[in-house]
């Protein structure tokens, strides 16, 4: 805040018009112009409009993957983040293991790993348990009858993304929690609250408010990374584009359209995040 104020003071000496010009979001105007040109193509050029309607078939999947995986990532991240600030060494080490493994692996590799190693391994274990429990549950218990194929590649892709982003969000939440002064926890404890109560009613409400902007940015990143699910054949907009290209060889038109779709979504979202940040800054009462 202080920085923007001092910049504002400096420029106030310049003429109003120069100031107005320099303040225009030129990058946005440029993008809007490019977008308008593309829009014109969609309306007038038959090839473009065919491609657009093809790719649009994947938009629900893209949005669905993003929303579901991000929601799960937030929950995972909150749990792991609390683990990272825990004084319980076991919990702390488990959370740290998770975070470090996630941070050390490329997301693409994580997706393959979850889809083709962890999921089958999970069912191997589950089936073994089901086998052992035949005397109790009978031969048709779900643990025995379920198998890897029951989990669609879409679901595996979302699990992988959720696990990956959960690891990042864990660090976001940890940083948020640690940014709240020690005095807050002490004041809460001195009033007789337990650690969990102090977290729940005093620390987290403040910490979450602080991490909302970074979470918003991560949501945008998730939207982009959701394109990785195409490697599993999940038909999001990226996969639709790849399919169309492989049949038509219309590279520029297809990828122009794909880029247009992602940019439209990410820019609208990032403007939303910015607006939200400004609003928070104005009536922010957090100290």
């Amino acid at each position: 805040m202080a920085a923007t104020q001092s910049i504002a003071k400096r420029t106030s000496t310049q003429s109003n018009f120069v100031q107005w010009l320099s303040r225009l979001p030129w990058w946005l105007l440029f993008l809007i112009l490019a977008g308008i040109i593309l829009l014109y193509q969609f309306l007038t050029n038959e090839l473009y409009s065919v491609i657009l309607s093809k790719l649009t078939q994947g938009i629900v999947t893209t949005i669905f993957v993003t929303l579901v995986a991000f929601t799960c990532a937030i929950i995972l991240g909150l749990i792991a983040g609390l683990g990272r600030v825990s004084r319980n060494r076991l919990i702390f080490n488990l959370a740290t293991l998770y975070v470090q493994v996630i941070r050390g692996l490329p997301m693409l590799v994580q997706i393959f790993y979850v889809a083709f190693v962890l999921t089958p391994a999970f069912f191997t274990v589950l089936n073994a348990i089901g086998m052992a429990l035949i005397p109790v549950l009978g031969e048709t218990n779900f643990m025995l009858t379920s198998n890897t194929q029951d989990v669609t590649l879409l679901a595996r892709a979302m699990i992988a993304l959720a696990l990956a982003y959960g690891g990042f969000e864990a660090e976001t939440f940890r940083a948020g929690i640690e940014s709240i002064g020690r005095g807050q926890m002490e004041a809460a404890r001195s009033l007789g609250m337990s650690y969990v109560q102090a977290m729940r009613y005093v620390i987290l409400p403040q910490a979450i408010r602080r991490v909302l902007p970074p979470l918003g940015n991560d949501f945008i990143a998730m939207l982009k990374d959701s394109s990785l699910v195409s490697v599993l054949g999940v038909r999001d907009i990226t996969q639709e584009a790849r399919l169309y290209v492989s049949a038509s060889f219309r590279y520029p038109e297809t990828y122009n359209t794909l880029a247009f779709m992602y940019l439209t979504m990410t820019i609208i979202l990032s403007l939303g995040v910015k607006w939200f940040e400004n609003r928070m800054g104005k009536n922010g009462r957090g100290s």
Partner: protein
């Protein structure tokens, strides 16, 4: 000042308290007792261990060795006991430590609701009563960021009082305040003392010590150097170190 007769058990007993932070001996064998309704003032140079003694009393710091009783209850590592004792021991910090995301009223209600399990009405009534007591009933709906330092500290005192504590601990409650706000906080504390609240106060406000203390302790390097009545302490201290310190701060 002590309105309560002394037949009852002491409110705080500390025996041979030692607290080390790594290699630092913050407190090095402190023993003291505070009777019900009495006011104990602790003074001493920076780093002498005053805060550490105070924070051990409600187990914000875990003593390295030594024993502490609060209202007859022996402080051990049992979490239930510790939370129970903390609810009986109000603490006021130098930096106020109000919860910035809650209004003054909600600051005072929160622990009443979840620790004392009072219902909304009851907690709200108590909160307003305590705000009245510290002289700022009109600030109930303000957030801490909208209050002056002196007002924040008074809300913090009200927050502690709303739990009906048996003893109040103050750790340099006026040190972070602008001079013109010190008095409004000291006045509240003086009134508390006159009402018979048991208090342990770390402060450099000698006026408060003279007017409110039943006993003054001077600490240096983790030990109690002198323990005396305020009259004696200020007019004819026994120890030379006390004299030197007093000369420094009363200059």
């Amino acid at each position: 000042m002590g309105a309560v007769p002394n037949a009852k058990q002491p409110m705080i007993v500390i025996k041979n308290l030692v607290k080390q932070f790594g290699r630092v001996d913050a407190v090095n064998g402190v023993s003291l007792r505070v009777e019900q309704g009495k006011v104990l003032v602790i003074i001493g140079p920076s780093g002498s261990g005053k805060s550490t003694v105070l924070r051990c009393i409600n187990h914000l710091e875990v003593p390295t060795s030594g024993e502490i009783w609060v209202d007859g209850i022996h402080l051990t590592h049992n979490h239930k006991d510790i939370n129970a004792i903390r609810a009986e021991v109000g603490m006021v910090f130098q930096q106020f430590n109000l919860f910035p995301h809650l209004t003054a009223l909600d600051n005072i209600m929160l622990a009443q609701r979840i620790v004392r399990r009072r219902n909304e009405d009851e907690a709200g009534r108590m909160a307003r009563k305590q705000l009245e007591r510290v002289g700022i009933p009109e600030k109930a709906d303000n957030y801490p960021g909208q209050l002056s330092g002196g007002q924040q500290q008074r809300v913090a005192i009200a927050r502690a009082l709303a739990m009906n504590p048996k003893v109040m601990l103050f750790d340099e409650p006026t040190s972070a305040l602008d001079p013109e706000m010190i008095k409004e906080v000291l006045d509240v504390m003086l009134e508390l003392a006159h009402e018979g609240m048991t208090m342990v106060v770390v402060t450099h406000e000698m006026g408060f010590a003279r007017n409110a203390a039943d006993e003054v302790i001077f600490m240096d390097k983790g030990v109690i150097v002198e323990q005396n009545s305020p009259e004696q302490f200020f007019s004819s201290p026994r120890e030379e170190r006390t004299q030197t310190f007093l000369n420094q701060i009363l200059r």
